[in-house]
Amino acid sequence: MQRVKKFIENVGWPRILIALFLLSLFVIAPFVGVRLDASINDTLVRFGMNGVLVLAMVPMVQSGCGLNFGLPLGIIAGLLGAVTSVELEVTGLAGVLTAMLIATPIAVFLGWCYGLLLNKVKGSEMMIATYVGFSSVAFMCIMWLALPYSSPNMVWGYAGRGLRTTISVEAFWQNAISRFASFRINEFLAVPTGMFIVFLLLCGAMSLFMRTRTGTAMTIVGSNPEYARASGVNIDKMRTLSVILSTWLGAIGIIMYEQSFGFIQLYMGPFYMAFPAVAAILIGGASVKKAGIVNVIVGTILFQGILTMTPSVINSMIQTDMSEVIRIIVSNGMILYALTRATKGRS
């Protein structure tokens, strides 16, 4: 009994409830005519698609910058890379790599500026990050129209300029990473191995990085800034580095997302993209101050599992699509829970 209590305390009620909810969805699924293998397939694909975006939360949480609501900034860098790679008409794996290569310097630069900004506003990072994300998305709405891209695959047909809201990458590099070493179990269930490999490699690299001297210093800056200052760690530099890392992972994450999804979504597309990622890592057990790789993996599976299962199962059960509402309540409820919890622990 004591152990059960301790387990519940460690994992936290919301997480247990969500896990049970997901489990019950999977149990109910076959009885309401939803194919289990197809559901698992969707969950796997979504897990691979979103994993890196969730991973992007880790460095900033660890360095004490809070949840990266400014993820759209990184996403924009990724979008610029993706759009440029389509413009250059590079196909296959090379296309994805080109996108990532182009996105990297942009992400590093944007992340650096963003990091400098966040260093000036310690204590209110999250609110400002949210609005930095929003305004950069709104600013890019103008830029997508104005930038001199000209590939007929991407611009509006009648005007001859200005990028379209969604751009298909099917002819270029859809599933270029997912396809790698993927295998099919049956008609409905395939495993996108390539995506998992890249995701796990990035997770591994992150966990190794966190163990290096720099990574440890970053964690110390987050958990105890005074101690960090006393031991001669340059706080601002560590924070900037973490923001750059987060932004870069955001850029890589969105390219992973697009190559699986098959479309680049511009304009208001990235507007709310930070919220699912934030919710996922929190569902995985992270707090505003502490996040690890396990949180990323568990959280992404749980959150994306719910997103995949609720529409199909609840739809077949009550003939109504409540998935959108459930998504809003679960994801924001989780963020709210984390925000209100953190103060309790501190005082």
Partner: protein, 369 residues
């Protein structure tokens, strides 16, 4: 020297409104709007939005920052309006009834919001923001699935064709402009909604009076320093909850006034926009996260909406593309909030660093001696 320093301080304090005035002044000629049109439009928007923006003042006074949770109040107001249109109560009676229905709802929402924010002290803004999203989900659950199924709605006109859930847009024809047109007044072809302005004026007086009451003073003390207020015997947490409740209730009235002017209710969008635009307006008026006056409200509403009206047309004539102007104003509304938040946080951070440097400097002086 001193006066130039004062001027500099003035410019820094009012950087946001000054930039706005300059941008609008440059954009007006390009937009090719007539002065009459702009004045009429500004009056309409002033009557429409001021109340919503004013509802933000109380929590700022209590040191809780910008109340992004005002969307909760807007939701309460909308629920009131939905019931009133269902029962077909028309005109001013309908409006008052909507407010009466909205009040208890807004009190409950505000109380929830206040309690949650008390648990997240120091990050009220981001928490109230997320709370707005969360309650939006709950609102959708209730209005989209509950209304007509659990909550009785008699008029099929309001319901979706499937038999339950409120339609995406409701026509408020029976309530439209019933407050604005209560007292008709026209000067030089420009209509002035006198009754609405009277309501707004009463509200301003209320705020002025409220600041002088015991509760108002308590709030200001809480806003200055929670620990000091606590030791002075002020029930800090309770006071904070009350400030949010007041703000939420007022926001619900504000949303009702807003929607009677617009005349259509976007059941699932109207409240979301209310928050962003009200906060942007207040900040454009020169308010900061910790300091806002009634003057900021009116200046802000005029400047923000001037830009709002002018920029799409100016953008269209300047670039030949209407969409760029459209995106520009979205960018400005978010950009201005970021700018104001950054400036505020920056100043606070700089103050803290300065205090720290001062403290250190004194110590090293002592050591030197």
């Amino acid at each position: 020297m001193n006066s130039s320093k004062n001027l500099k301080m003035f410019l820094i304090r009012n950087a946001v409104p000054i930039v706005f005035i300059l941008v609008s002044a440059a954009a007006i000629p390009f937009s090719q709007f007539s002065a009459d049109y702009l004045i009429q439009e500004m009056l309409v928007r002033l009557s429409r939005n001021s109340f919503l923006v004013l509802s933000l003042l109380v929590p700022i006074m209590a040191g809780m920052g910008l109340n992004f949770g005002m969307v909760l109040g807007a939701m309460a107001g909308q629920i009131g309006l939905i019931f009133v249109s269902d029962w077909n109560v028309v005109g001013l009676h309908g409006l008052v009834l909507a407010a009466i229905i909205a009040t208890p709802l807004a009190i409950v929402f505000g109380w929830i919001c206040g309690v949650v924010l008390n648990k997240a002290r120091g990050r009220e803004m981001v928490t109230s923001y997320i709370l707005g999203f969360f309650m939006n989900g709950v609102y959708q659950l209730v209005v989209l699935y509950g209304f007509g199924a659990v909550v009785p709605i008699s008029s099929p006109k309001l319901l979706l064709s499937r038999g339950y859930g409120i339609r995406n847009t409701l026509n408020l024809d029976t309530l439209r402009r019933c407050l604005d047109d209560l007292v008709r007044c026209e000067i030089a072809g420009i209509q002035i909604p006198l009754a609405t302005f009277a309501v707004i004026g009463v509200f301003c007086l209320f705020i002025l009076w409220f600041r002088r009451t015991k509760l108002g003073q308590d709030m200001r003390a809480t806003g200055q320093d929670m620990a000091v207020a606590e030791s002075a015997g002020i029930p800090v947490l309770h006071t904070r909850v009350i400030s949010i409740v007041i703000s939420t209730v007022l926001a619900s009235y504000g949303q009702i006034i807003f929607l009677q002017n617009v005349g259509t209710l976007n059941t699932y969008n109207s409240h979301e926009q209310a928050g962003v635009f009200a906060i942007a307006s207040l900040l454009v008026g020169g308010a900061s996260v910790s300091r806002a006056s009634i003057l900021n409200v009116f200046v802000g509403v005029i400047l923000f909406h001037l830009m709002f009206v002018v920029s799409p047309m100016a953008g269209k004539y300047l670039t030949g593309d209407a969409q760029i102007g459209e995106f520009f104003r979205v960018f400005v509304s978010y950009g201005i909030i970021s700018l104001a938040l950054v400036l505020h946080a920056w100043r606070r951070h700089a103050d803290r660093e300065a205090a720290r440097a001062h403290f250190r400097g004194q110590n090293s002086d002592k050591e030197a001696k």
